[in-house]
């Protein structure tokens, strides 16, 4: 069989274990993932970089069906549509004849697969275009060979190759076998389309390839895997981070109908890294039997050193730290002198609690071990990490571990940590390789997450006679994500400081940023938008507070603080990270930041007369190398109940591939931002999370969600670097909402969530 030809690679077969390895030939293609320069950025700097080999990504069947491999994980961002769409456009394929198949975890073959950081499109737009262009060139060469004409006389057009002088045509299906024998053209010889010729990219007419499967219940998520002879498992995990089983009595559990085995899982850590926290698994004939069996376990826990973790007391300790001078991480001018000489000083403190991702599909994975080889199925944001860590846990080579990626029922960063894959593999090993599916219940998910950090942001400003800031101090204190890997890590890392605290490009001459120590008492992890959430909440609320103190319009004041349009090097701001991107290609562009503010103000009718009890709030934030501004309209009734009639968002993420999905991501980010502002809080008592389910850990429901969300996309240029989309929509929403509440009521919210702070 020729490498470009593949018949019927359906996802069903793929999910049932058919490897793609027999169908592609990636051998011998020059590896170009790593550039020669000393310092690498973007996709070049990610583990295993990028691959643009059409033989790894594109196959064409005899009937002309084009199948594109998607190597990034689908969690709602639409990547299983946008990656094939990029390839199809350059390939001149007819979209109706394009299918998608999901890559297993194999970064050597496909390039980096760690689907987080809002990176898929900005890192793989160009490689995917080259895949499509190379495959198109091979089809053209095949047709020229068949017709014995110069290749310059032929041209691919909408799933056919045409011989221009004679009008002869051959379909892609008829050419596939010959095309497969053509050499892969050298990268530098590829002819990429002029963006004016794009059929699909940027058009916004493309429906999700998985849409029909989703609405008919056919779509396969991690929790849906079913294998013959499979056991269903749930795990009783230590309720406190670092805890262990002190004693176990499983006699009653084993009497529960349908329960087959009780199996301890060894804890690893702290530090947790991506490993299971250990505990006791109950395996049964179905999930319910396992849940009932777990209820009957008698376990006493040794809580360890985090048994005293109390998030209320911890908040006070963070506040104390935030009020004292600490490690200086940026120091422009002379804050102390400028503040002392200022006409007026303003200060405020903001708090954002722990949050849990609470993906609608909780973590779930299935594993089996046959003849010394392990296969894993699940909802993984980082399948290569799952593969490497399962191999490590089982004492196997990663070559003997295959990780199949299903759809993800939400990810938001939780599913980039494959602890549940390791649990499934360890349990399969304990039952002689039988297939075992581990399902996390909602209380498991809330009790043993990798939580969004908890933070206090202390801000001080000195303003001149006109109310303009001349001195700015931001002291940010929060346990770092790196504590999950290194218990000695007590300061925010470059990547956390680079999320909207150190790299704030305001036109203020005297700026000091400080970062006191904080010790983590639970697993801290990535949560969609990460540290941008507390940083943007504090910075954008504080700017509005300064505007109010100066008696100025918040939008005009925000633009003044941003200052004139200029391209600021992140390095001059002390930001050595810059979302992993080159400081030359991706400077902080205050012109773009101004433009989203101006656009959203215009589109929302900023300044319009509103009914009583209504208010508008504005906020803007730069993150994941994109610029987003939001105007939220709130209505606060006489009981203090907040509703949100309308939100406008302006986004500049550079050029777009599937604008409808950009819009959808902004809408979703808006709703998540509203939930963070109004409802979300994970709290700890005696080391234990207090919330068990959605009754206590509330998330936004339809009636509380904004009635109307209008997204305004700033047109981009395909010649310029792209920005992220999945995350940058969240950070401006909580401050815009709280600024709107201030406009409506005069009440300033500084501690999230709002919950009943406005209750009258």
């Amino acid at each position: 069989m020729s490498p470009l030809i593949v018949s019927n690679v359906s996802r069903r077969r793929f999910l049932h274990g058919l490897s793609l390895s027999g169908l592609v030939l990636a051998v011998g293609y020059p590896s170009v993932a790593r550039g020669q320069q000393a310092k690498k950025y973007g996709a070049d700097d990610m583990p295993n970089g990028w691959v643009d080999n059409p033989l790894a990504f594109v196959s064409i069947a005899d009937d002309g069906t084009v199948t594109v491999v998607c190597h990034r994980s689908e969690m709602g961002q639409g990547v299983r549509t946008s990656m094939p769409l990029i390839v199809a456009d350059e390939l001149e394929a007819d979209w109706k004849r394009v299918r998608v198949t999901q890559a297993p975890g194999d970064e050597q073959r496909f390039g980096n697969q760690d689907t987080d950081g809002s990176r898929s499109t900005r890192h793989f737009f160009e490689p995917m275009r080259r895949c499509g262009a190379a495959a198109r060139t091979m089809l053209e060469s095949a047709a020229a060979e068949r017709w014995k004409v110069p290749v310059s006389e032929v041209e691919a057009r909408n799933h056919q190759v045409v011989h221009r002088p004679t009008g002869r045509r051959l379909g892609y299906g008829a050419l596939a076998r010959v095309a497969a024998g053509q050499p892969v053209p050298a990268r530098e010889t590829l002819r990429l389309k002029d963006p004016k010729q794009f059929r699909y990219i940027g058009k916004g007419q493309t429906k999700l390839l998985d849409g029909r499967d989703i609405v008919t219940g056919k779509a396969q998520y991690g929790i849906d895997t079913r294998l013959a002879g499979m056991l269903y498992a749930v795990v009783a995990r230590p309720p406190v981070y670092g805890g262990k089983v002190a004693s176990l009595d499983s006699a009653e559990a084993l009497k529960v109908p349908g329960v087959e085995r009780v199996v301890p899982i060894e804890p690893t850590g702290p530090p947790a890294q991506f490993n299971p926290v250990g505990g006791v698994a109950v395996l049964g004939r179905n999930t319910w039997a396992a849940i009932e069996g777990r209820r009957a376990l008698k376990i006493t826990w040794d809580d360890g050193p985090n048994g005293g973790y109390d998030s209320g007391a911890f908040k006070s300790s963070l506040e104390e730290s935030a009020r004292k001078p600490a490690k200086v991480v940026r120091d422009d001018g002379d804050f102390t002198a400028a503040a002392a000489g200022a006409a007026r000083r303003v200060e405020a403190e903001y708090y954002v609690p722990h949050l849990a991702h609470a993906t609608m599909e909780p973590p779930a994975a299935t594993a089996r071990i046959v003849n010394g080889k392990c296969e894993v199925w699940g909802c993984f944001q980082s399948p290569q990490a799952a593969r490497d860590l399962v191999a490590k846990r089982l004492g196997m080579s990663p070559d003997d571990v295959t990780v199949h990626v299903t759809l993800l029922g939400g990810g938001f960063g939780r599913k980039s940590k494959p602890d549940y894959a390791i649990e499934a593999a360890a349990l399969s090993k304990a039952v002689d390789g039988k297939p075992v599916k581990v399902t996390w219940t909602r209380d498991d998910d809330l009790h043993n997450s990798y939580y969004h950090t908890v933070s206090v942001e202390h801000l001080e400003a000195g303003v001149d006679g006109q109310g303009k800031p001349v001195a700015w101090l931001h002291r940010t204190v929060a346990p770092t994500i790196f504590s999950t890997f290194d218990p000695a890590a007590k300061h925010e890392a470059a990547l956390e400081l680079g999320m909207g605290v150190i790299n704030v490009p305001f036109a203020i001459p005297n700026v000091r940023i400080e970062n006191p120590e904080a010790v983590a008492h639970t697993r801290i992890g990535w949560f969609r938008s990460v540290s941008n959430i507390p940083h943007a909440f504090a910075v954008q609320s504080f700017v509005a507070e300064l505007a109010a103190a100066a008696g100025r319009d918040p939008k005009d004041y925000l633009l003044e603080v941003i200052g004139p349009a200029r391209r600021v090097s992140p390095e001059t701001l002390g930001d050595t990270w810059n979302h992993g991107e080159s400081p030359e290609r991706y400077p902080v562009d205050t012109g773009r930041l101004r433009r989203v503010v101006e656009t959203v103000a215009r589109e929302s009718g900023w300044g319009k007369t509103l009914p009583k009890g209504h208010g508008l709030g504005i906020a803007a934030h730069y993150s994941f190398v994109s610029y987003v501004a939001a105007v939220v309209e709130v209505a606060v009734d006489d009981k203090g109940v907040v509703t949100i009639p309308r939100v406008d968002m302006a986004v500049d993420c550079g050029a777009t591939v599937n604008p409808d999905r950009v819009r959808a991501q902004m809408e979703g980010a808006c709703v998540m931002g509203v939930g963070i502002a109004t409802l979300g809080e994970i709290s700890f008592k005696a080391g234990r999370v207090e919330q068990d389910n959605f009754n206590a850990y509330e998330v936004t429901r339809m009636a509380q969600a904004p009635r109307v969300i209008r997204v305004h996309i700033i047109p981009g240029d395909y010649g310029q670097p792209m920005g992220g989309v999945g995350e940058p929509g969240v950070p401006p929403i909580p401050p815009a909402l709280c600024n709107a509440i201030f406009a409506a009521t005069g009440k300033r919210i500084r501690h999230l969530p709002i919950r009943d702070q406005l209750k009258v």
């Binding site: 689908e74 969690m75 709602g76 961002q77 429906k207 999700l208 998985d210 849409g211 029909r212 989703i214 609405v215 008919t216 219940g217 056919k218 779509a219 396969q220 998520y221 929790i223 849906d224 079913r226 349908g258 004939r285 179905n286 999930t287 319910w288 849940i291 993906t359 609608m360 599909e361 909780p362 759809l407 993800l408 029922g409 939400g410 990810g411 938001f412 219940t441 909602r442 409808d660 999905r661 959808a664 991501q665 809408e667 979703g668 980010a669 808006c670 709703v671 998540m672 389910n693 959605f694 009754n695 998330v699 936004t700 429901r701 339809m702 009636a703 969600a705 904004p706 009635r707 109307v708």
Partner: protein
């Protein structure tokens, strides 16, 4: 042995009578379209129809569904209202991750059968038991209205 009728097909299941319908459908009968989200009737991901009513299958024991007609997402398209909703969902690009959408569709179908021309308040009422963590609510509302319009229930 408990006798269920799921999507028009007789199923005899040998399970304790308190076993939730959700896990019976998913793990024993193999209909994985119905999703687990909370186990406490708080999120709506597991919504199915029992004798035409939307119920949360995670808290419905199979004993309570015995000898009644259970319809899951796998058979929703056989019903004209269900099919109209599925089409509207795809056309309007409602799903993001898609996981909760099966439950959203089952709740929406029960709403439109009862109330062919729902007001915004009626949509809120019927749909607020269904959580979407991706935040697709504005599109869900629009798609319900489009399906209602196609069914002659425009407002």
């Amino acid at each position: 042995m408990i006798r269920l009728e799921v999507n028009g097909k007789r199923q005899n299941v040998d399970l304790p009578p308190e076993t939730p319908l959700l896990w019976t459908l998913r793990d024993e009968i193999g209909l994985t379209g119905t999703k687990f989200g909370c186990g406490m009737a708080l999120c709506g991901a597991c919504t199915v129809h029992v004798d035409g009513q939307a119920v949360r299958s995670c808290v419905t024991p199979i004993s309570a569904a015995a000898n009644k007609k259970v319809v899951t997402i796998e058979a929703l398209g056989a019903d004209p209202v269900g099919a109209a909703l599925q089409t509207a969902w795809v056309d309007m690009g409602v799903p993001q991750c898609g996981y909760c959408q099966v439950g959203q569709l089952m709740s929406a179908a029960a709403l439109l059968r009862r109330t062919p021309k729902p007001t915004d308040a009626q949509i809120d009422d019927a749909m607020s038991g269904n959580i979407c963590r991706c935040g697709t609510y504005t599109r869900i509302r629009a798609a319900i209205k489009q399906a209602a319009a196609k069914q002659g229930g425009a407002r």
